[in-house]
Amino acid sequence: MELNDDEDRLLEVLLREEFGGEAPPDLTDRVLSAAGLPARGASAAVPSARRWLVPALAAGVALGVLGGLLIGERCWGARPDPIPRGAVISTGEQGWRMRLGKRGYCNVEVQPQSTVRVAGAELAEEVVLESGGVACEVNRGVGSFAVRTESGVIAVQGTKFSVTMMGEQAADTGGTAMAGRQMVVRVVLGAVLMTGAWGSATLYSGEDGGTVCGIIASKGETWIGVRPEGQEGDATLYLPQWKGGLPAAGGGFDKEMLATIKGLLVGSKVELAWKTMEDHPRILSVKVLAAPEKKPEVAAAPEKPLGEGEGVRKHRHPELDRPPGEGPKVADVAKVAEVAKPHGDGERPAAEVAKPKPHGDGERPVAEVAKPKPHGDGEAGPKSGTVVGVIVAKGENSIDVRENKDTPAETYRPMWKGGLPKEGGGPDRDMLKLFASAKVNDWVKIDWVWHEGRRVSKLQIAGRQ
């Protein structure tokens, strides 16, 4: 292959950069000065040795634990030498600014009360964010940069963005170590690729995304409200993604996600990845980490028109009734839109919904299953049903389940299988095993049919009271 002179010169430039360390420099301060504007270093107070004492001490502690390297005082452009990989930086009341990579192409501002570790490789710089937040600027076209968190990786080639971890880092709890933790990524400029065990998504300038581990506080057919575990108050409303354009063109919510939502139980612990689309956080992925600890709720609240409902109805977002691109249809939109505006300092997800109202007397589930009437002698009643309740007693071949404290317990037995006893027939042995594994005070969901009493066709043990 023959190269023309221009192509050859292009290779020469890039090879000098690759082997000779001639990476494009950061000229920001120089241009600002030439333009008569204050340089970045001038706008931020230069840290004093005392000011950095807290982070230095904290880093020192981390040094002993993690085998990292203690970093001394550093500020923008103060020292050209790179920060060694493995260095752990823990900030106190003040933040910390550092440059990473060849000619400092990654500018990282570690927020107060944060801990990061410098990782990665030459031209593929990384920081591991263990707690708190970082704001990053990456010179486009020099090298790659990523922020790694326990929720996933945010990778960029040239952009400005922030990553914030919220909530306490839990000890390993068998697959739920992320419980209560939230990651919020906000892209100011350019684009980032957010990846995790759930998959990946690209966030562009002005977009937010992240992950949250929490409890499903409420749900409808087309949304779920998730509250970070251990936190009181507001739940955030998440919708499925909209696919396919206008409804007339066949557009609508992502059907797979609607089916997933249908199968979710209120009270379940979930890990959810989201991204803001059409001004609202949309579900990219949701994974159940644990079944409900309290009374499980198994069906969705019936959908009603906006403005009619109470409690969880307040969560309903106007976009449920319209495709992207169409204007809001109802006045109540303003209320939700107001809380859906971009968040200020990356402290909260973009769309924080109004605080959900208690469901009725606070004891009943948001979404109640169809409740059959008691089957009295000779009284016409339902032939089958589904109940969710707590086991209050166990017999030899039966369990007594009470739906709530105001209703009497009902006795449930296994289905009869195999004909007469002399022919080998008897109670469903598999169900008897399930009965044996269930304990008094367990929450259960039971599908039953009437046959000389309530017979259990399906039993799910949802958790312990």
Binding site: M1, D6, E7, L11, V31
Partner: protein
């Protein structure tokens, strides 16, 4: 233009402009840095920036300023003239857009080149390191490779051609 807007402008475009200046023929890193600074300041003062389109359009507009400044720089540097004229820099721009910016902002090209460098055999890679990294002269390289100086010149050009082809294949795939 506000300070924040200028910072954003610099952040987005400085790396490409620096490479572009070196590619056009800026004789040293310092000269390239000066020209990038002048380009960005000229853009900052220009009212056209407000009407500059998306980032890609903005980059093309900045390269236009950069070419004019580079030609002016060449005319000023009479004692050590850099050979360049309007036609040659416009041809260079076509190659830049057609090759380096083939995908997005050129970073894919850089990454592809890094990948291709990893595929070179040790000897050829060492020759590139000595030439571009350590600044070894052709006689020194000729001694290392037991080749003639002309042979070294041909080898370097051939290696660049191999790398360019590898990059094209990788970007195409």
């Amino acid at each position: 233009m506000t300070r924040e807007e200028l910072v954003t402008l610099v952040r987005i475009h400085q790396a490409e402009l620096y490479r572009y200046m070196r590619y056009l023929g800026a004789e040293s890193p310092a000269a390239a840095e000066d020209l990038v600074q002048e380009t960005l300041l000229a853009a900052c003062r220009s009212a056209d920036l407000a009407t500059a389109r998306d980032e890609r359009g903005q980059a093309a507009w900045l390269r236009g300023i950069a070419r004019n400044l580079f030609l002016e720089h060449c005319r000023r540097a009479r004692s050590d003239p850099v050979k360049a004229d309007s036609a040659s820099v416009e041809a260079a721009e076509a190659t830049w857009v057609g090759e380096f910016l083939r995908q997005d902002d050129g970073f894919d090209y850089v990454e592809a080149l890094r990948h291709c460098l990893g595929k070179l055999d040790d000897r050829n890679r060492r020759v590139l390191e000595m030439h571009y990294g350590e600044g070894k002269s052709r006689p020194e390289l000729a001694a290392f490779c037991t080749m003639t100086e002309d042979g070294i010149k041909s080898l370097l050009r051939r290696l660049r051609a191999i790398l360019a082809e590898c990059v094209k294949r990788r970007l195409a795939s």
